[in-house]
């Protein structure tokens, strides 16, 4: 596949360079809400939505910034857009499902500081993707984040029942699993060539 084909871009963001397991982006929510599948799934969906919005806005903003030669404002502009998008999602979820809103708790507003989203916006700028390519890239990144989150949640649910030495419980075990997952994802490295 050609490196600028849409399928390649999607697979690249989804599996090969998975945002969480290969690029270490978005680890805080990854560790924080991956305890149960019931919270992991909506979190993944929320992040995916914010990514799409952020990608669209970032593309437009970058054009404006380049046009007026004020690229040094890029970081500030991007983060402001992401913060607004997160606010939008937060209000929507609060309105639609107060239970879910309480379950996600502090991690919902913290999507703003989810480096996966800012990272995605920055990468698509560095890679000079076109508008459609950017959208596909953000979709792949969001899907990759959700996939990693769900895989992790499934394993941690099983892990709760496992008999483990108590020094390894909690964060240490979660990180070890993430390491193994990451090792597994390295197997995708040749995919798409």
């Amino acid at each position: 596949m050609a490196p600028d084909s849409l399928a390649y871009i999607f697979l690249n963001a989804f599996l090969v360079n998975n945002f969480v397991l290969a690029l270490f982006l978005g680890l805080c929510p990854f560790m924080g809400v991956s305890g149960k599948i019931k919270t992991a799934a909506p979190m993944g969906a929320a992040v995916m939505f914010v990514m799409l919005v952020a990608s669209t806005c970032a593309f437009g903003i970058n054009h404006l910034l380049v046009r007026f030669d004020i690229e040094y404002l890029r970081l500030i502009a991007y983060i402001a857009v992401i913060a607004s998008a997160v606010q939008l999602v937060e209000m929507t979820i609060k309105k639609l499902s107060p239970t879910l809103f309480r379950m996600l708790g502090i991690f919902l507003p913290l999507i703003t500081t989810n480096c996966a989203i800012l990272g995605m916006a920055l990468f698509q700028t560095f890679l000079e993707y076109s508008f459609v390519q950017s959208l596909v890239y953000s979709l792949g990144a969001g899907a990759g984040f959700s996939l990693a989150l769900l895989l992790m949640a499934g394993m941690r649910e099983k892990l709760d029942l496992a008999d483990m030495p108590d020094t390894c419980m909690g964060a240490a075990a979660a990180l070890m699993i993430a390491g193994l997952l990451s090792l597994a994802f390295m197997g995708f490295a040749g995919l798409g060539g």
């Binding site: 805080c28 040094y72 800012l118 990272g119 964060a171 240490a172």
Partner: protein, 214 residues
Amino acid sequence: MTSATRATPPLDRQTLTEGLWKENPVFVMMLGLCPALAVSNTAANALAMGLASTFVLLGSSLLISLLRNFIPKQVRIASYIIIIATFVTAVDYIIHALSLELYNALGAFIQLIVVNCAILGRAEAYASKHPVRHSLVNGFGMGAGFTLALVMVGAVREVLGFGSLFGVSLFGDQFQPWAVFILPPGGFFVLSLWLVLFALVAKRRAVKEVRHGT
């Protein structure tokens, strides 16, 4: 607004040291994991990242603490982020000017300091409620703790993965590099092993205290 009237605690050693170990952002609070794992494949990169983050932490602590009575409560998070983003942009340009090699090694992760939750967490939990002096000292402690954690992870990864420390070869030519430790999984493994080690030490200490009847 309420913070000005509240009695300020004395500026003691606790303010400085709590971030260094007891509330270490990476090892204890699990904040700022992304840069801690992503750029810690060599000790030098880890140190540079730690110093850059410390600079941002100090700058943002100073400004946020100064403005703490002027920033309206409703838009505080957005204001903090903008302040932090300003300092990060500065760091980005400084590193670019100082060392292109380092700039390329750290890549987008310099700009991603903006979303380092350890920094925003400090702004929200400390700098917005304490006077400038306290915030600076506390920010410095936190930054040092973050740098320490990064270098600890980075050093282990570099020794195992490259057979060197800060670029100095340790084992000679015979060394067979353990490549997985400089790849992404290695970051997870090393941090996990540090956590297990700390838990073991804490447990042993607790057992000892029980035995001494304290």
